[in-house]
């Protein structure tokens, strides 16, 4: 049975009783059974609950009641987003058996909308990584080429959508963790404006950068999911209070947005095939009557350095709570190894965290502590925050001139397993085009670039804060031509 439905198509089929919700869920669970022992997008699959929920939806439809757009829709959830009563590992051994005691706000909203959670998806440990190779539970494969990574840290969610194992998925993005895997797997991913979506119930990595966001097969699907998860939340004081407008755009009514291409994103390091496909996209918009001009974001070359100072600092603080005392994995008692018991809590903490955290996590915790330490704080952390404000200012200046800033999403397409594991900097460089949007707090969308190669490539669009609709309008236009 066909499974690669869009949310809109699946909804129509359900509403017109052409398929039942149970059949819909079964189609996706079948895909998971067929492929996921190879792809490994999912860490947990909720087969029984999904069917129970699907039965309820079918009864509702039988009674003649109308169903909402997301009702009965199978959604995959990244494993750093809490679903009450379900395991949440954040891809780490230290939370291997942790069961969430509350729902994230985005989950509560989706439950209200009647969505069905198919399960939790794989990720780099604590969202630290760009390939999902840093998961404590094994990597995920890119469904478009299984010798290559799906990207990260939302690699499981991206692979699940690309492989037809769910209708759409939730991911999280701190430095590109939605957009880069979306680009690598050939799907759509949105990092919302900072403050558009509540972070309550998201296992925190870097609190001034994190956002939960939607990933889907089409721009329209991504927009549907975004609209159901966004909004002010009293439980997250960084969410914006005012209600956000939305409109149902029609292709013929796509506003003639002005597009800027920043030259700093087209320098060396950009793969030739990517450059060609990107330049094609620029020509495409010109031919369709959009104004496309050069802009400059002069502090772009500093962005990765700024990110790799601010993010580890915030992450090392956020990960201090994992000590194995109240929850999570606790270090095995040394008595079990014939050694003297832990003398004190410090020893327990050290052993627990030493065993429970992987290599990349330890690296960033240590780096973060260093940049925050006495004598180095001003030179590193404060300096980085100052440069961050310059990066943000660059964007605001550019947005005086243009409505959308367009760049490649990544410097190269998906790389092979192991290719970037030896040199952390090589891995970090795959985020060079995505970190800026997190630093400036602006929304950014990755859509598949039209290209003839088998390997997907991503086009990134960035817009002013809370102007996600501009991104959807332009992305939708590109997708349909």
């Amino acid at each position: 049975m066909e499974y690669k439905f869009t949310i809109q198509t699946a909804h129509e089929l359900l509403a017109t009783k052409k398929i039942s919700c149970c059949e819909l869920i079964n189609a996706y669970l079948d895909q998971i059974k067929k492929q996921d022992s190879d792809i490994h997008a999912f860490l947990d699959v909720y087969e029984e609950e999904s069917f129970t929920h699907a039965h309820m939806i079918d009864e509702k439809i039988q009674r003649g009641e109308t169903i909402g757009m997301l009702e009965g829709m199978p959604i995959a959830v990244k494993d750093n987003i809490l679903i009450k009563g379900k395991r949440a590992t954040a891809g780490s051994r230290i939370l291997e058996h942790y069961v969430a005691s509350y729902d994230a706000t985005v989950i509560a909203k989706l439950k209200q909308a009647g969505a069905i959670f198919l399960g939790k998806t794989n990720m780099d440990e604590f969202a630290m990584g760009s390939s999902t190779e840093h998961s404590a539970f094994g990597p995920t494969k890119n469904p478009r080429d299984t010798t290559r990574v799906p990207g990260g840290s939302s690699g499981g969610s991206a692979a699940a959508v690309a492989a037809g194992e769910c209708a759409a998925a939730l991911g999280s993005d701190t430095g590109g963790s939605i957009r880069q895997p979306a680009a690598f797997c050939g799907i759509v991913g949105l990092k919302p404006t900072y403050g558009a979506v509540s972070r309550y119930g998201l296992i925190a990595m870097a609190s001034s950068l994190d956002q939960i966001g939607p990933m889907g097969r089409t721009v329209a699907d991504t927009k549907i999911l975004f609209e159901s998860i966004r909004g002010h939340d009293p439980l997250d004081a960084t969410t914006k209070r005012e209600s956000l407008t939305s409109f149902n755009f029609h292709i013929d009514q796509t506003p003639k947005l002005k597009i800027g291409i920043p030259k700093e994103y087209l320098g060396e390091g950009l793969d030739e095939g990517m450059r060609k496909a990107f330049e094609e996209a620029g020509r495409f918009f010109k031919n369709e009557g959009f104004e496309v001009k050069d802009v400059s974001l002069p502090h772009t070359p500093s962005a990765l350095a700024v990110y790799y100072l601010i993010m580890p600092a915030e992450a090392s603080t956020n990960l201090a709570r994992y000590e194995g005392v109240r929850f999570g994995t606790r270090a095995r008692p040394p008595e079990a190894f014939g050694r003297a018991p832990h003398h004190n809590l410090a020893e327990l903490y050290t052993a627990t965290r030493g065993e429970g955290f992987g290599r990349e996590v330890k690296s960033r915790i240590v780096l973060g502590a260093f940049v925050l330490s006495h004598g180095y704080y001003d030179a590193y952390y404060v300096k980085a925050q100052k440069v961050r404000s310059l990066i943000t200012q660059d964007f605001f200046n550019a947005f005086q001139d243009v409505d959308i800033i367009m760049t490649p999403a990544t410097p190269t397409p998906a790389f092979r397993f192991g290719e970037k594991m030896d040199d952390p900097l090589a891995m970090y460089l795959s985020d060079v085009y995505t970190v800026t949007a997190n630093l400036a707090g602006i929304p950014a969308l990755s859509v598949p670039l039209k290209n003839n190669d088998l390997l997907p490539k991503g086009l990134q669009l960035m817009a002013r804060p809370f102007h996600e609709d501009d991104l959807f309008a332009l992305g939708n236009f590109y997708e349909h031509h």
């Binding site: 809590l345 903490y349 915790i365 943000t392």
Partner: protein, 109 residues
């Protein structure tokens, strides 16, 4: 830049074996060399300038400051307390008769 992985690991309560220590030392040396480029960026280093700049950028994005909610539980705070506690208890790494078991907190040395 001077830093000691051993010292930082102790501060952050991370146990590292010799191999991990060596690898962290070399990885972090590389990263710190890379981020050092920020020295060259002119940030017009007056603190007042930065504060004003950060504040005005923040206002463009979210023109609200310190809007807090009331310190009360939301009206529908989920299941009955017993169920909520049961979930929390199920996460205790070590428990004894419903209590969370932890090692000695105060060291009588």
């Amino acid at each position: 830049m001077e830093f000691s992985v051993g010292h930082l690991a102790a501060l952050t309560r991370l146990s590292l074996d010799e191999e991990e220590k060596k690898r962290l030392e070399s990885d972090l040396a590389g990263i710190l060399a890379y981020v050092d480029q920020l020295r060259e960026v002119d940030t017009d280093d007056g603190e007042e300038v930065t504060r004003v700049r950060l504040n005005s950028l923040a206002r463009q994005v979210a023109p609200e400051i310190n809007r807090l909610r009331e310190d009360v539980l939301p009206s529908s705070s989920g299941d009955e307390p017993a169920k909520e506690v049961a979930i929390l208890r199920s996460g205790f790494p070590e428990e004894e008769e419903g209590y969370l078991r932890v090692p000695l907190v105060i060291n009588k040395k």
